[in-house]
C-alpha cells in the first residue's frame, strides 16, 4: 500500500507538470483558486473566452481530450494518465467547464456511432475548443424519467423535422452543436421509439431561452424546436435505437475521479476556526466539533474512496462501484454545512451581501445553490436506485409503463 506513482506515471506527471508550468494562464490562478464550490466568477474575463484560449493551447500541445484517439484530436492516454493530468491541471481545470459535456458525453457518442467523415469533421474541433457542444436530453415532462421525452422528430424525405422543447441544457446559449434525443415513434413503448441526432445550434427554428434559477443565477436554458430540419446524415445509431445510444452517452459521463467534488468542509473548518461565539471560538464548542468531525470524516472518506478508484485504474483494472457515492454524499453535505454555518451566524446569517459577519455570504450562496447539486446529473433518489440495483443487486422498480405504447401513457396525475 502506497501513494507513489509508478515510474511511467511519474514520468508522465513530470511532462504534464512542465508543460502546465510553461503554458497555464497564471494571471487567473488566484481568482480560480478562490472560486470554490463549483461557482466560477472571474472579475475581468468571460469564462468561455478564457476557457477557449486554454483549450486551444492544450490542443496544440496535445493535452486536450487525453483519452481520445490521436486521429480525433486526443492523446490516446490511459485512464490513469487522464487522472494524473487532471491532478496536475489543478485549478486551471475549472476553465474546462464549457467543454466538459462535449468531451465527456457528446464526443464519445459521436465516436461510437458517427460516420468516419463526421468523426473527422467534428471531434478535432470539439477537442480544440473551437466548437462547443451541449446535450439535449431532459424535458419538462422527462427529468429522471428521461425516456418519457416528447420532442418529436418526423421523417420528411432525407431529412428529419423536429418540434418540441428541451430544458436544463447547460451552455446551450454558447454551444455550436447539440446532441439531441427525440421521439420518432410514439406508437411503441417509450424506450423503443427514440432516435439520437446531432444538430447545428444555429439551425433555423432553434430558440434558446435562459432559465432564471432559484439561486438567481442563469446557467441553464430551455431550448425550443420549431420545424427544425436535421439531415439524416446527422443521425447517430439506428432509428428507434436512441435509448441504447443514450446509455453510451451516460456511461461516458465524466467521472469526477481526479477533480474532487466540493464538500464545503475546508470552508466550514476555516469558518469555525475564526468565528467568535459568546463562550469562545466556535471550533472549541462541543456541538460544533461533533458536527464538524463527522463532516470531515465523510469528506476524507470520499477522498480515499477516489484514491481506491485511481489505484484500480493504475493497475489497469476497471474501477469498482464505490465511486458512485461521491455526488450523493457531497450534495447533501454542502446543504447541511451551509445551513449550520448560518445557524452559527445567527440573525446576521440572513444577509447575502458583502457583509463581514457572513464572510461575504459564501455559505448563503452555498445554501441557495446546493439544491441543484442534489438534482443535476441524477437526483439523490436516482443515485440511490443505481447503487441499490447495480451495486447491491436489488430488483428494479416495477415499471407500469414499460410495455404500454408511448401515446397511451397517462400524462396527468389528476
Amino acid at each position: 500500500m502506497n501513494f507513489d506513482d509508478t515510474p511511467q506515471e511519474a514520468a508522465f506527471r513530470e511532462t504534464a507538470r512542465k508543460w502546465i508550468e510553461a503554458n497555464a494562464p497564471k494571471e487567473l490562478h488566484a481568482e480560480l483558486s478562490k472560486s470554490s464550490l463549483g461557482r466560477i466568477r472571474l472579475a475581468h474575463h468571460d469564462i468561455v473566452d478564457v476557457g477557449k484560449a486554454w483549450q486551444k493551447k492544450k490542443f496544440a500541445g496535445n493535452w486536450s481530450c487525453l483519452h481520445w484517439p490521436r486521429e480525433y484530436g486526443g492523446r490516446g492516454a490511459t485512464p490513469i494518465e487522464r487522472v494524473i493530468w487532471q491532478q496536475e491541471e489543478g485549478v486551471y481545470g475549472k476553465l474546462t467547464q464549457p467543454f466538459q459535456i462535449g468531451e465527456g458525453m457528446c464526443g464519445p457518442t459521436v465516436m461510437a456511432f458517427g460516420s468516419e467523415e463526421a468523426k473527422r469533421r467534428y471531434l478535432p474541433k470539439l477537442a480544440s475548443g473551437e466548437e462547443i457542444w451541449c446535450q439535449l436530453f431532459s424535458e419538462p415532462s422527462a427529468g429522471s424519467d428521461v425516456a418519457g421525452l416528447r420532442t418529436r422528430a418526423e421523417k420528411k424525405g432525407d431529412d428529419w423535422v423536429v418540434n418540441g422543447q428541451k430544458i436544463w441544457t447547460s451552455g446551450a446559449h454558447y454551444s455550436d452543436y447539440g446532441l439531441l434525443i427525440a421521439r420518432t415513434d410514439p406508437n411503441v413503448p417509450k424506450h423503443k421509439g427514440l432516435t439520437m441526432f446531432f444538430l447545428d445550434m444555429k439551425s433555423p427554428g432553434v430558440e434558446v431561452r435562459p432559465i432564471k434559477q432559484a439561486n438567481g443565477m442563469q446557467e441553464f436554458n430551455e431550448v425550443y424546436f420549431t420545424d427544425v430540419v436535421i439531415p439524416d446524415s446527422q443521425r447517430l445509431g439506428a432509428v428507434g435505437e436512441g435509448w441504447s445510444v443514450s446509455l453510451t452517452t451516460l456511461m461516458n459521463e465524466r467521472m469526477s475521479i481526479g477533480a474532487r467534488l466540493a464538500t464545503g468542509v475546508p470552508e466550514m473548518f476555516e469558518f469555525c476556526s475564526n468565528l467568535m461565539l459568546e463562550d469562545g471560538l466556535a471550533i472549541d464548542d462541543p456541538a460544533v466539533r461533533s458536527k464538524l468531525a463527522s463532516w470531515a470524516a465523510k469528506s476524507s472518506g470520499l477522498k480515499y474512496t477516489s484514491y481506491r478508484t485511481i489505484s484500480a485504474l493504475s493497475k489497469g483494472e476497471r474501477p469498482g462501484p464505490e465511486n458512485s457515492i461521491g455526488k450523493l454524499v457531497s450534495g447533501m453535505m454542502l446543504q447541511d454545512i451551509a445551513t449550520y454555518a448560518m445557524d452559527l451566524q445567527g440573525a446576521a446569517g440572513v444577509l447575502t451581501g458583502n457583509d463581514e459577519e457572513t464572510v461575504q455570504g459564501q455559505f448563503q450562496q452555498m445554501l441557495l445553490s446546493s439544491p441543484s447539486m442534489r438534482i443535476a446529473g441524477g437526483t439523490d433518489e436516482i443515485l440511490r436506485n443505481i447503487i441499490a440495483e447495480r451495486v447491491l443487486g436489488l430488483p428494479g422498480d416495477i415499471r407500469v409503463d414499460k410495455d404500454v405504447p408511448f401515446n397511451k401513457i397517462p400524462t396527468k396525475g389528476r
Binding site: M1, N2, F3, D4, D5, E9, F269, S273, I283, P286, R289, S290, L292, A293, S294, A296, A297, K298, S300, G301, L302, K303, Y304, T305, Y307, R308, I310, S311, A312, S314, K315, E322, I325, L328, V329, E381, L383, R384, N385, I387, A388, E389, V391, L392, G393, L394, P395, G396, D397, I398
Partner: protein, 375 residues
C-alpha cells in the same frame, strides 16, 4: 498509486474468511451469547494455529512477523464473523502496548504466549463513566503495588494479564500516568463479571488491592504510550467494524431479496432500496477511511493520529447505521433472538464505546486537524 492491499494480503483475507466461516458460524457465536461459555476456546486455539494471533508480532517473539496490513485484513474478517474471542483486547491493545513499550524480558514473557494462544491480555483503562482522560484515573501505583478499581475491562474475566493505567503523580498533567503489567492470576486481584450489551464479549470489574505490578515503559510516559496504543487499536477496530457493517448490509440485502410482501420482493420498494443504498454509502466511506488508517499504521506515518480518528468515527457510524437498519429491513423477525441481526446490533454499539465513545473521537479528530493546520 497503489492504495489497496496486495494480492498476498487479499489471499490472507480470503483464507481468514474461509476459516471463520467454517469455525465460527452464527451457531458457534450463540454458544457464548447464551452464556454457555465465556469465549470460544476452540476458535481461539484455531486462530493461534493459523498464525492469526501473532501475525503482527515479530518472529523473534514467536509471531509470524508479517505486519499491520496483514492484521487489518484479519481484523475485518473477525468483525464480519462476530467472533466471540478476546482478539481485540489481546492483539490490538495488550500486544501493541508491549510492542510499543515493553522491555525485552516483558516481550519474551508475553508475546510468544499471545501468539501461541496461551495468554489472553487486555487493557485496564476505564474507571466507570467517562472517556479516556488522565483526570479520570484514580487507581494508584506506589511502591510496586496497585490499589483501585477498573471498570469496565473488556475480556477482563478471562484475561491472564492486563496492561493497567495508573496514577503515579498528582500534578494534573499527562505525565501523572504510568503503565503497569499485572499477572491477573497472581494475588491482589479480584475479578467480577459484568453483564453488558454484547454478551459475546465479556466485560469485568477488576479490583486491585496491594496488587504487585511491574512498570511497562518509563514512569510518567503512560499517557503518551496509551495514546499511541489507542490510535493503533482505533484503526484495527475500524476494520472489525467495517467487516461487521458489510455483513449487516449483506444480511439486509439478502433478506430484501428473499422476503415477499404486497406480492413483490421487499427489495423492490424504494423505501427499502434507499435504506440499503445509504448503508452501502456509510460502509464505503468507512472502508476508505480505514484503508488510509491502515496505510498510516503500517508505515508509522505522522498522519496516524488524524487518520485513526477519522477511521474510528467513520467505522463506528457505519457499523451502527448498518446494524440498526439491518434489523429494520428484517421487520419483526429482526427483533427476535432467533435471527442473528441483534448480534451485530449489540456488537456495533458495544464497539462504539470500547476505545472511547464517538464524541471522544470527534473531539480528537478536530484537535488533530487543528494541530496539522497550525503546523
Amino acid at each position: 498509486m497503489n492504495f489497496d492491499f496486495s494480492d498476498d494480503q487479499k489471499q490472507l483475507r480470503d483464507q481468514a474468511r474461509k476459516f471463520l466461516a467454517e469455525k465460527c458460524p452464527p451457531k458457534a457465536v450463540r454458544v457464548v451469547l447464551d452464556g454457555k461459555a465465556a469465549y470460544d476456546k476452540e476458535l481461539w486455539k484455531g486462530l493461534a494455529e493459523m498464525g492469526f494471533l501473532g501475525v503482527a508480532i515479530p518472529e523473534e517473539f514467536g509471531g509470524a512477523g508479517a505486519g499491520h496490513l496483514e492484521l487489518c485484513v484479519i481484523a475485518e474478517e473477525m468483525g464480519r464473523a462476530n467472533a466471540p474471542v478476546p482478539f481485540s483486547s489481546t492483539v490490538y491493545l495488550a500486544a501493541e502496548a508491549l510492542l510499543i513499550a515493553g522491555s525485552d524480558a516483558q516481550k519474551k514473557r508475553w508475546l510468544p504466549a499471545i501468539a501461541a494462544g496461551e495468554a489472553i491480555g487486555t487493557l485496564a483503562l476505564f474507571e466507570g463513566k467517562g472517556n479516556p482522560a488522565p483526570k479520570n484515573l484514580k487507581l494508584t501505583a506506589a511502591n510496586g503495588v496497585l490499589n483501585g478499581v477498573k471498570k469496565p475491562v473488556a475480556d477482563g474475566g478471562i484475561a491472564d494479564f492486563a496492561v493497567v493505567a495508573a496514577r503515579t503523580g498528582s500534578s494534573g498533567r499527562e505525565n501523572d500516568i504510568s503503565l503497569f503489567l499485572v499477572d491477573l492470576k497472581a494475588g491482589g486481584v479480584e475479578v467480577k463479571s459484568l453483564t453488558n450489551l454484547d454478551p459475546t464479549r465479556g466485560q469485568a470489574e477488576i479490583i486491585f488491592s496491594d496488587c504487585k505490578a511491574e512498570p511497562l515503559g518509563a514512569a510518567g510516559e503512560g499517557w503518551s504510550i496509551l495514546t499511541q496504543v489507542l490510535d493503533r487499536a482505533a484503526v484495527l477496530c475500524a476494520f472489525e467494524q467495517v467487516g461487521g457493517a458489510d455483513r449487516a448490509l449483506e444480511m439486509g440485502r439478502d433478506y430484501a431479496l428473499d422476503r415477499i410482501a404486497f406480492g413483490r420482493q421487499i427489495g423492490s420498494f424504494q423505501a427499502v432500496k434507499h435504506m440499503l443504498a445509504d448503508m452501502y454509502v456509510s460502509a464505503t466511506l468507512a472502508r476508505s477511511n480505514s484503508y488510509y488508517g491502515a496505510w498510516a499504521l503500517s508505515t508509522n506515518a505522522a498522519e496516524l493520529p488524524e487518520a485513526a480518528a477519522a477511521a474510528r468515527i467513520s467505522a463506528t457510524q457505519a457499523f451502527q447505521h448498518c446494524a440498526k437498519n439491518n434489523i429494520q429491513v428484517h421487520g419483526g423477525m429482526g427483533f427476535t433472538w432467533e435471527f442473528d441481526c441483534h448480534m451485530y446490533y449489540r456488537r456495533a454499539n458495544a464497539m462504539a464505546l470500547g476505545l472511547g465513545s464517538l464524541s471522544y473521537w470527534e473531539d480528537q479528530l478536530i484537535d488533530r486537524m487543528r494541530k496539522k493546520n497550525a503546523a
